[in-house]
Symmetry: C2
Subunit: 207 residues, 2 copies
């Protein structure tokens, strides 16, 4: 099956649906209506139905969606049905928090390596991963690591991105609050927690 | 001027545009076309034009948008034209990173207080903020703090949310990977960094 032209916004919401479905599955629920799923996630039912319609409709009228089937389909669409190995560069405060974060496993991610330039950190273990010298980045391809996570200071972000791309990274999750430039074939997603906070006041009642 | 029915997805993108515009402004640029702004942000021009059309068109054909005017308008729409004070609850590793994060100021946020239950932490200073006992949460209203940031362990997230709401919080930024329930008038935005990573493989070229 091929999926054409799924809007970015739908792709952005699929992990949210997936996480909700996995939660329901753990709780023993076998099927769910788009209305109940929407209520649970704080989303709206027509949007959920529209999002799912892009890749075929898995729902049955009156019964709803099969939780496990739908979760499996979303994993497949997002290419999360295989394990992805990631390398983190920059083991400071933020990097350590990201390394320790347990939430990646839900989606099949394995942070398999961590790098730094600080000789005092190299060789130490954080969250069961031994910190390596950044010069080891060249081993990524051999180790089948194709995702880079950037948690270096802002000034070092661009050169880190280039080093990751040269080492074979095809996707980058960037935590530095800056714009980085990479070849078009490489996908960069930048996380800026301030942006999420920035849309909060719009929804808050005026006092 | 009143703004009706702006889609959530547009509201989600406005902080991205705003950050880009502030960056361009700092670089001394006075006007920008939707195409150049799109190129710079890795977005697409029709979407930018459509997003701006919801609240009136600020662009002039052939000239583009005035950077500072547009930035000011977006701030106003997002209600970021006034300073918002926030309180963070849970000063562990993640909480400390969030407290130290400099990116909030861009949008006019001031993390004005931090709380924990650990008596060893209470009274200590992190990023110039003295950690207080959570029992002090009741002072939020008096201190004009109406945003809560939750960085406690998952199991404590729901009760922390309730304590924040009781103390007068109207908006919550939740970093705990769980679903929290609050009264409808309170807006919750949950940040899960794994979700951003989860949409990366979809865009990566197959090997």
């Amino acid at each position: 099956m091929r999926y054409h032209k799924i809007p970015d916004e739908t792709i952005r919401r699929l992990p949210i649906y997936l996480r909700g479905l996995l939660f329901l599955s753990e709780a023993g629920q076998q099927s769910v209506s788009s209305r109940d799923l929407a209520d649970f996630l704080g989303a709206n039912p027509p949007q959920i139905r529209k999002d799912f319609s892009y890749f075929g409709d898995f729902g049955t009228r009156g019964v709803g969606y099969k939780v496990d089937t739908l979760a499996r389909q979303i994993r497949k669409i997002l290419k999360l049905d295989v394990v992805h190995k990631a390398a983190l560069v920059g083991v400071g405060n933020l990097g350590s928090v990201v390394l320790a974060y347990q939430g990646f496993k839900v989606y099949g991610f394995d942070i398999a390596a961590a790098f730094d330039i600080d000789s005092k950190k190299i060789g130490r273990k954080i969250s069961n991963i031994t910190i390596e010298n950044v010069s080891n980045l060249r081993t990524l391809k051999k180790r089948k690591i194709d995702i880079g996570i950037i948690t270096v200071p802002r000034d070092a972000a661009q050169e880190t991105a280039e080093a990751l791309v040269n080492a074979g990274a095809k996707g980058i999750l960037n935590f530095s609050p800056c714009y980085i430039t990479v070849p078009k074939k490489v996908k960069v997603i930048t996380i800026d927690i301030a942006m999420d906070l920035a849309r909060l006041p719009y929804y808050m009642p005026s006092s």
